[in-house]
């Protein structure tokens, strides 16, 4: 297939499926809480709506930084799709992309001048201290498989079985990272309702649309990475079923768990990182 067409197709799938999975999450959460909930396509409609809304910019914002940062977030996650599903490239490169995502999340908040954005920005700095080590679990995959290249990791699993069963603690750590990026998650401190919408509070119209597209693609990509590196070569149906199952599990957790205090959130994540890394290394040595 033509490379550009392949990229376009994968990005479109990532956006549409990511949005629908977010919609599914809200639906499941609503049913658990005895509400009818919004339709599953609500998140998608919500995203598209922002493209026909008027774009306004706060006069206190750091221009053009404030505008560029929302667009960069979109570019970053499109790059992740290219490195991941399209090119089957290096996992370390996706790690670098995730690091850039944390930086953008942090500065989207601080660039508007809003105190809510600023609080979200400070929380993003703290959460990076926990989320980046959670992503660093991928080093354990390298220790197990001897490669960071996604296609080689898939080939390794085709020969030796899914990594989920040989390094389960590493999979658990990555699942906690996925949980941290879900809306209404106990670890979603950067978008806590006590700070309105966190770093998105002062982004309207087109810029909010960019942020929402990025979130959908980011959700798809995190699920895709989890399924690829821990469950091995999967068919399209396998990916779809896997993503739906993980999204439903996350929705159950979110619906039944309150959002943690920022300090508790970080401490829980750091504790899990410690257990995951030490436990995985012990498992590898056995």
């Amino acid at each position: 297939m033509n490379l550009m067409l392949n990229i376009l197709l994968n990005v479109t799938i990532a956006f549409l499926l990511g949005s629908l999975l977010f919609g599914l999450q809200r639906k499941v959460m609503a049913r658990i809480q005895m509400r009818p909930g919004p339709p599953i396509i609500q998140h998608l409609l919500h995203t598209l709506k922002f493209y026909i809304k008027e774009s306004t910019f706060p006069k206190t914002a750091a221009m053009p930084f404030y505008i560029a940062i929302a667009s960069i977030l979109c570019v970053i996650w499109v790059s992740a799709v290219i490195v991941g599903p399209v090119a089957q490239g290096s996992l370390l490169l996706i790690f670098a992309i995730y690091a850039l995502h944390k930086i953008v999340e942090h500065n989207a908040g601080s660039s508007s001048g809003s105190p809510y954005g600023k609080l979200s920005c400070v929380r993003a700095v703290f959460s990076a201290a926990a989320e980046v080590p959670l992503f660093a679990v991928l080093i354990i995959i390298y220790l197990k498989t001897g490669t960071m290249v996604l296609s080689d990791i898939t080939a390794y699993q085709a020969q030796n079985g899914a990594l989920l069963f040989t390094i389960p603690l590493a999979a658990l750590m990555f699942f906690v990272l996925i949980l941290s990026k879900a809306p209404y998650s106990p670890f979603a401190i950067t978008k806590g309702k006590d700070i309105i919408s966190g770093y998105e509070t002062e982004h309207f119209g087109l810029l909010r649309g960019y942020l929402m597209i990025s979130e959908s693609i980011a959700w798809y990509m995190l699920l895709w990475i989890f399924l690829t590196v821990f469950l091995g070569p999967l068919s399209l149906l396998g990916y779809l079923v896997g993503m739906v199952i993980i999204s439903v599990i996350v929705a159950f957790i979110n619906a039944t768990t309150p959002m943690l205090n920022p300090n508790h959130s970080i401490m829980v994540q750091v504790t899990l990182v410690f257990i995951g890394i030490v436990g995985s290394i012990i498992l590898l040595m056995l």
Binding site: K59, T60, A61, A62, M63, P64, F65, Y66, A68, I72, S79, V83, G89, S90, L92, L93, F95, A96, I97, A99, L100, K102, I103, H106, N107, S110, S111, S112, G113, S114, P115, K118, C121, V122, V125, F126, A128, A129, V132, P133, A136, I139, Y142, L143, G146, T147, M148, V149, D152
Partner: protein
């Protein structure tokens, strides 16, 4: 061990005498990312923080004044260029030099702010960064002494790992953690992030995270688990 198992396909090398830069998608992406953010910082103005005043219904605007803006922007650009250099270099000693430069300019970016709490945080970060330079350079020196080279392209070809190489790597890691001020030293940095000047604060965070990601590659090259 093959370099391509970490950063992806080797796209080419740029020999500059003894120092050989190597280009993989991983290095190129981070290099381009650092340069793109540096350009953005160079052309952006700072935000105005709006805070509630105690005792009245008025708002207080906190701005970055022109003199402070100029020096912080200059230091942020230097930091961005040093980060880009650290992402692309193929020489361990150059990497440590870039990391040290990042530490120095990061302190400068925050110490230009005239707020007691921020200056206090900058001072503490400065102490840690200063102390971290010893294990940073010491680690690189031990690796040179035990392998005879600082070129990452040569280091990757060495088929064995000695305990001195592992010891040097540990020192190197300690130095990088201290210079970039990541956990467990991030607490003082979070204090710095409360000040206005979003574009400049970005580069502090960017440099720390990117250097840590690159450090993973460097440490894997030296220690070669495979």
């Amino acid at each position: 061990m093959d370099l391509t198992t970490i950063g992806g396909q080797l796209l080419g090398t740029i020999p500059l005498g003894d120092i050989v830069l190597y280009l993989t998608p991983f290095n190129l992406f981070m290099f381009a990312g650092a340069l793109a953010f540096t350009t953005l910082i160079a052309i952006s103005r700072t935000e105005t923080q709006v805070e509630a005043e105690f005792g009245t219904l008025k708002d207080k605007e906190v701005k970055v004044d022109l003199q402070e803006f100029k020096i912080r922007r200059f230091l942020a650009i230097v930091c961005g260029l040093a980060t880009a250099g650290a992402m692309i270099t193929g020489d361990l000693f150059n990497f440590t030099l870039f990391v040290t430069l990042i530490g120095i300019v990061n302190i400068g970016i925050v110490s230009a702010v005239r707020q007691v709490d921020v200056l206090n945080a900058a001072f503490q970060y400065g102490l840690i960064a200063m102390m971290a330079s010893l294990p940073l350079f010491g680690g690189a020196a031990i690796i040179l002494a035990s392998t005879g080279t600082l070129s990452l392209l040569e280091l990757v070809k060495i088929p064995y790992v000695t305990s001195m190489m592992t010891f040097g790597s540990l020192l190197l890691l300690m130095g990088i953690i201290g210079e970039t001020g990541v956990a467990p030293f991030y607490a003082t940095k979070a204090e710095m992030f409360r000040t206005p000047g979003s574009p400049f604060i970005l580069i502090i965070h960017l440099s720390s995270l990117l250097v840590i990601v690159r450090a993973i590659e460097v440490l894997l090259i030296i220690n070669k688990p495979f």
